[in-house]
């Protein structure tokens, strides 16, 4: 049994070691390269990408969809596990909130990167029309960013006060910052009630908002006449996929944080086991929607649809299609069924497989459809019939992923990744569940 002080010592943020510095500098170099490539894209136009009149959206959009999906992890873990009274969530929620915030922020930036005229961003507000799904996105993404931020911030207030005290002597400057950010948290009953109420409201709000975000993201595609997008299945399919992508990201990050910060006492094998079962359930649901999306249309496919499905299942995109289906969904689902598959190390590998599979899955959703229009692709250079991202696109996309990881790294560096106050309360046998995140 640990006492409060050792808990604080274990969980308080720590300076980077050698590994931390190397990692951060590595990310910063990629981000810098991305910024340079983006400036070049602004100057020379999107001719630096391999997008053309037929493949008019590429990995910027599929990467955006991936970020949006990943951001669902906040709703999936914090809110859903909270409403179902699963108390094992305590050491995981903070990391989930951090991933959520980083992903949704990067989703917002990625969609701007895809805009060919970012200089006219304000037109979205000056001339915005409610009937366009893009306007719905303009409304829902900032809403989600704000809510996700609050879902991270309100629960952390007591911890910031704890850290303010903890670092008072050793690091007065840092301590001051924690003090300021804690908004004068003293733990009075009034403060506790207010915080508890706020968290409760946000935790409930984040569920419909999260679902709306995924839905609108799906509607960007299903409101067009395109083969493969024009599907009533799309929104539910996206939501189920978001559960999988988000949990995959959460498991991968948690494993790394646990190793680096030696949190084996807090994030136990039992947590991985539980997360494994949760991921298993979401994979099953996702599999169900995949069958609805790709297998059932085979029976009534029109000529255009058949060309599209053939290209996915046997043709040009077969490798990526089956990679995302097998590595990103079926294999994890099978492995998770075994107890050994839910051990931390195995879960880390599964988490990475899921994340990788999820990223390529979005690519498979976005691009092949655009290359299967109703009228033949004629009168344009041969290269326009295919799409593979250009160096600019790869560098910029890598930079957005690096930026997300950098935001996560910085939060982990400066914030307690496992809620301190709550852990102490639970140790003292005082787990006032309503007060939890």
């Amino acid at each position: 049994m640990k006492d409060s002080l050792s808990v604080i010592q274990d969980l308080a943020p720590r300076k980077f070691g050698k590994r931390g510095w190397t990692w951060s500098i590595f990310l910063l170099v990629i981000i810098l390269a991305g910024i340079i490539a983006y400036v070049d894209q602004i100057i020379r136009g999107q001719q630096v990408t391999n997008m053309r009149d037929y493949a008019l959206w590429g990995i910027y959009i599929s990467n955006f969809v991936f970020f949006v999906a990943t951001s669902f992890v906040g709703s999936a873990t914090v809110a859903v596990l909270r409403l179902t009274n699963n108390s094992w969530r305590t050491p995981l929620v903070r990391i989930a909130e951090i991933i959520s915030l980083a992903a949704i922020m990067m989703a917002g930036i990625t969609i701007i990167i895809d805009m060919a005229r970012p200089d006219r961003l304000l037109n979205l507000f000056m001339y915005g029309r409610l009937q366009s799904p893009i306007t719905w996105d303009v409304i829902i993404i900032p809403t989600t960013i704000a809510l996700t931020f609050l879902l991270l911030y309100f629960p952390i207030l007591p911890d910031l006060a704890v850290l303010n005290k903890f670092f008072e002597k050793t690091k007065p400057k840092l301590s001051k910052w924690y003090g300021k950010l804690s908004l004068g948290w003293k733990g009075t009953t009034r403060q506790k009630v207010l915080r508890m109420k706020s968290i409760k409201i946000i935790a409930i709000l984040i569920i419909p908002v999260g679902i709306l975000l995924q839905t609108i993201d799906a509607w960007l595609f299903s409101t067009t006449y395109r083969v493969g997008w024009d599907s009533t299945n799309m929104a539910a399919y996206f939501i189920s996929g978001a559960f999988v992508a988000g949990l995959g990201a959460l498991i991968s990050v948690i494993y790394v944080v646990r190793r680096v910060r030696n949190l084996e006492d807090y994030i136990t094998e039992n947590h991985f086991d539980k997360l494994g079962k949760y991921l298993g359930l979401t994979c099953l649901v996702y599999l169900y929607f995949n069958i609805n999306e790709y297998l059932i249309p085979v029976f009534t496919a029109t000529v255009e649809e058949e060309i599209h499905l053939n290209a996915l299942i046997f043709g040009e995109y077969a490798f990526l299609f089956w990679f995302s289906q097998i590595v990103g969904l079926i294999l994890p689902l099978i492995l998770i069924l075994f107890k050994g598959g839910r051990k931390p190390k195995a879960m880390f590998v599964i988490g990475l497989m899921v994340v990788l599979g999820s990223w390529w899955k979005r690519f498979i959703i976005v691009t092949p459809t655009l290359l299967h229009p109703f009228l033949p692709i004629e009168g344009v250079p041969e290269s326009w019939r295919h799409y593979w991202p250009s160096m600019h696109e790869w560098i910029i996309t890598s930079a957005t992923l690096a930026m997300a990881l950098f935001i996560i790294t910085m939060f982990i560096r400066y914030l307690p990744v496992v809620p301190i106050q709550q852990t102490i309360d639970e140790l003292n046998g005082n787990p006032d569940d309503d007060e939890n995140e």
Partner: protein, 324 residues
């Protein structure tokens, strides 16, 4: 006590509602009254004028009843580029039986709209509908749909539908999200991925009505990061001139006209629009999608030309000729 005050409140609300209802009805009545009074202000002049109605009858009316109407022509100061030409509905009919892929329409469109990219606005597809069916040439313009998918999804109203049926693009407002291109089931939109190489812009602006770019002159100049597309040549039709593709076609494939006038012409013959569709079984592309195109096709029956003649001009990978 409590009950009676409750009753009082109910009564008050009841009366209030009745009063406001009466006010609304009264004010509507007053407006109507004043409107009818105003219209009666004009005294009859007593001078009759003879006029001909649209169906050819001669009628006599009081000269005071006659008012000037806004002219349709482009010099009308009230002309609004987003509203279009009043009381018009432009349509096109493309006769597939006559097309032999001469490409004159494409070349003329490219030239007049200064298309410099790799994808022409107007293209001729080599079509074959079924295994045993015969191939044919199909020119494809923008369909100027009455339910345009591109306009629905545009977040900033940069692409818009006019009352005269045209779908145009304001490339000064477009944010370059390309949602319109994704939404168009006919894949007709082209995008300026790089700075369009249209040369000296002063040359372009000298062509424009008042020197400013306008959606009436699509592609003049084109803007990097925004789409372009077939515009039905509003700069020409507001001067009562046919679109470039119509006049350039040596085979009279394109008929252009006004649905309200029930007339279309290819420059040589002028036909009744409805009758033409009836006689030649006109249809629209992807009718089942419900986009309501303004472009009609006449099927390639009783062909006047040989399909093979078009093969020598056929280039699968190029639609815009580049100066060497």
């Amino acid at each position: 006590m409590g009950e009676s005050s409750d009753n009082n409140r109910r009564k008050f609300l009841d009366n209030g509602l009745k009063l406001s209802l009466a006010t609304i009805i009264g004010s509507i009545g007053l407006t109507k009254l004043s409107a009818s009074l105003k219209s009666g202000e004009k005294p009859a002049s007593g001078k009759p004028v003879e006029l001909m109605t649209t169906d050819g009858r001669l009628i006599e009316v009081d000269s005071a009843e006659v008012m000037d109407m806004d002219a349709h022509c482009g010099h009308d100061p009230n002309y609004n580029v987003r509203e279009g030409i009043p009381n018009r509905k432009f349509v096109m009919v493309i006769d597939l039986a006559k097309c032999k892929n001469a490409l004159k329409c494409v070349q003329s469109c490219n030239k007049f709209h200064m298309v410099t990219g790799d994808n022409a606005w107007l293209k001729i597809h080599k079509m074959k509908d079924s295994q045993d069916g015969a191939p044919y040439w199909m020119p494809r313009t923008c369909m100027h749909c009455d339910k345009p998918a591109c306009v629905t999804v545009c977040p900033v109203d940069a692409t818009f539908k006019r009352r005269d049926g045209l779908v145009l693009i304001d490339n000064e407002r477009c944010i370059g999200c390309r949602f319109c291109m994704a939404a168009c089931p006919y894949s007709i939109r082209v995008f300026n991925w790089s700075e369009p190489e249209q040369g000296d812009t002063s040359e372009i602006t000298s062509v424009l009505d008042n020197g400013y770019p306008s959606p009436d002159y699509a592609g003049m100049p084109s803007k990097m990061g925004t789409p372009d597309k077939c515009d039905f040549c509003p700069h020409a039709i507001k001067e009562n001139v046919l679109p470039h593709c119509v006049t350039a076609c040596p085979n009279g494939v394109f008929y252009f006209g006004d649905k309200y006038e029930d007339t279309v012409t290819n420059g040589e013959e002028t036909l009744r629009f409805k009758q033409l569709l009836e006689d030649k079984a006109g249809y629209r592309l992807l009718e089942e999608l419900g986009t309501e195109p303004s472009v009609y096709y006449l099927p390639p029956v009783d062909r006047l030309v040989d399909f093979e003649d078009g093969m020598e001009n056929y280039n699968e990978f190029m639609s815009v000729e580049k100066p060497e």
